[in-house]
């Protein structure tokens, strides 16, 4: 039985590994290097990193407090909140892009309000950020919630009896203990933001993030031009996932 299971499983593993490897190996290091020196490619990769980082920071600021509430309190409609946060993952991302356009677009209320203070979403960095934030925030919130749930409540209670205010108990006990889980959630969210195409392309075709650039090169110049960019992106996200595994692994040992 195990032999058969192993064979079936290996099929799937190969299915994932084969295309990735082929893409990466199809471009020689020299070509990859040349691609990296391409101003447009480098600019779009840096833009992708930067936008996803800002989206992750925004999710951290509001998502960690929310995750703590979800882990520690029960309130009416909690299931609704929790379900809602997971919706962006299952919605087609192009639909998510359309939905965001309905709110942040030039003619929409929020879009107009921001326009007054000079912030544009469509075809601009803020649009890329909200698109990335929308589709990837649940990764961070869920990871942080699970991390807080794993912190024994009694540790917080003991901290309180020892003289800690709710803030001190959060900052000195809950947050440090949940930190690794939150960090791996942040890496996961950041990596997910990097790879977002569907929602971003609807709000902001320009400036081009790396997945959009890749799509454009494929459409305009064909496979040979798109391939090195794809290889680069695969290598970069692989790196992010390696970092994730390292922090998550350490989390298991200390947790």
């Amino acid at each position: 039985m195990r032999l058969l299971f192993a064979a079936l499983g290996a099929l799937l593993v190969a299915f994932v590994a084969w295309p990735l490897l082929t893409t990466v190996l199809a471009s020689s290091p020299a070509v990859l290097w040349e691609t990296l020196l391409d101003e447009e490619v480098r600019g779009s990769i840096l833009l992708t990193f930067y936008a996803s980082l800002l989206a992750t920071a925004a999710a951290f600021l509001c998502g960690v407090p929310l995750a703590y509430l979800l882990a520690r309190t029960s309130f009416r409609g909690k299931w609704l909140v929790q379900g809602l946060l997971d919706v962006p993952v299952v919605v087609p991302h192009s639909a998510a892009g359309i939905a965001l356009l309905m709110v942040f677009g030039r003619r929409a209320l929020v879009g107009q309000a921001f326009d007054l203070v000079g912030v544009k979403f469509v075809s601009a960095l803020p649009g890329i950020i909200v698109a990335m934030l929308f589709v990837s925030l649940s990764f961070l919130v869920n990871a942080a919630r699970v991390a807080f749930e794993a912190v024994d409540r009694r540790l917080e209670r003991v901290a309180r009896t020892l003289g800690a205010s709710p803030w001190q108990s959060f900052l000195r006990v809950s947050l440090p203990l949940a930190w690794r889980g939150i960090l791996s959630g942040m890496i996961l969210m950041w990596a997910r933001g990097l790879s977002e195409f569907g929602a971003v392309v609807i709000l902001a075709y320009h400036p081009m993030v790396a997945p959009v650039l890749l799509y454009e090169r494929f459409e305009s110049y064909g496979l040979a031009y798109a391939r090195p960019v794809a290889a680069l992106m695969i290598l970069i996200t692989l790196g992010a996932f390696a970092a994730l595994r390292v922090t998550a692994g350490r989390n298991r040992r200390t947790g």
Binding site: R154, R157, A159, R160, T161, G163, L177
Partner: protein
């Protein structure tokens, strides 16, 4: 609320915490007293402690510590030390960091905090562990760290939630003696909850028995065990003869325990001050001294009979006062009545020393 200097006064406490209900809790613990709350799992012992510590809002009731009303205060202003069953040490801090936690929050200077940490560690014999991580410690060591951490803030009241239950039997005995020693050295007013009757007897000045969120009996240990106030208490703790005494050697492999001037033969490894319990059903009453294999045969006088249906609880003063279980038929046959002189026989192996 009348203010009593020192100790804990709980009046009319009621609270709903999850599926637990606390009702009509009235509790007075004197300053420096070691008070044990005894009850089965699910009686609400832990939530009672957590309510006193301030982790839950009360439905009603007053809690005064050292005469100060604290029911409205958050836990950090109550100065109540808390030790959980499985220690709840901060896993991200060293042993020293755990003990210093409360001191740092109190803005105690680094030198002074260090001195206090060392003093506490010395008191509990864990000086060598200060740099260690909690997860590298044994259960007994972790419990000592948790105690040191709670005592470092010099709490007005110390709450211990089943502090010995997670320990193996040998360590449990060791930590139990440690608790008794700490209490006699520091005199911290202490409430200790447990389901273990031996623990209660060995440590308590007084005991409260808890059932379904209520305190059903409060009294000195021997009082609770000999005169259970209800069927529940009798069933839960069992009616027992519980005495305090001193074990000494008498010849080869034999020990006796001296209780109120009476020597009782026992089988035990312990020596020195101890407790002893003998079940009422293990004692045989006769009107003449009888020759048997029982090592103990004590003469005494019947001082009380309690009718419990098919059986009687007969109290015989030797002294001390023994409670014995006798069938209704035997009471008639032996002509047991108050003032009657009788003999009690029981085996040395029926004497449980702890």
């Amino acid at each position: 609320m009348k203010s009593t200097p020192g100790g804990l006064q709980v009046v009319g406490l009621a609270a709903d915490i999850g599926e637990f209900r606390l009702r009509d809790i009235d509790l007075g613990v004197a300053a420096g007293e070691y008070f044990v709350v005894l009850g089965p799992t699910g009686a609400g012992k832990t939530v009672l402690l957590e309510a006193i510590a301030g982790h839950f809002p009360l439905r009603q009731g007053a809690i005064a510590v050292d005469g100060e009303e604290v029911a409205g205060l958050p836990p950090e202003y109550r100065s109540i030390g808390f030790v959980y069953q499985d220690y709840a040490l901060f896993p991200h801090l060293t042993v020293g960091g755990n003990i210093a936690f409360g001191l740092k929050l109190r803005k105690v200077g680094a030198a002074e905090a260090d001195r206090r940490v060392r003093q506490m560690a010395g008191l509990l014999g864990i000086e060598d562990l200060l740099e260690r991580q909690p997860d590298t410690l044994s259960g007994g060591e972790q419990q000592r760290v948790a105690l040191a951490r709670a005592l470092a803030i010099e709490p007005r009241l110390l709450l211990l939630d089943e502090p010995l239950s997670a320990l193996d039997p040998e360590t449990r005995e060791e930590v139990r003696r440690e608790l008794a020693r700490l209490h006699s050295e520091l005199g911290t007013t202490t409430i200790h909850v447990t389901h273990d009757f031996e623990e209660a007897v060995a440590l308590a000045d007084r005991i409260a028995v808890m059932q379904d969120g209520r305190l059903v009996q409060v009294g000195a240990p021997d009082e609770v065990f000999r005169k259970p106030a209800s069927e529940f208490v009798a069933r839960f703790v069992g009616v027992r003869n519980v005495f305090r005494g001193a074990v000494c050697h008498t010849g080869e492999g034999e020990k006796t325990i001296e209780v109120d001037g009476t020597s009782i033969a026992a089988v035990t490894d312990l020596l020195g001050p101890s407790h002893v319990s003998i079940r009422p059903e293990d004692i045989v009453i006769s009107t003449q001294p009888i020759a048997s294999s029982a090592r103990n045969c004590l003469g005494g006088r019947v001082v009380g009979l309690v009718d419990a249906g098919p059986v009687f609880y007969v109290t015989v003063s030797v002294p001390p006062d023994f409670v014995c279980l006798v069938t209704r038929a035997s009471v008639g046959e032996l002509g047991l009545e108050e003032g009657r002189r009788v003999y009690l026989s029981f085996k040395a192996s029926a004497v449980h020393v702890f």
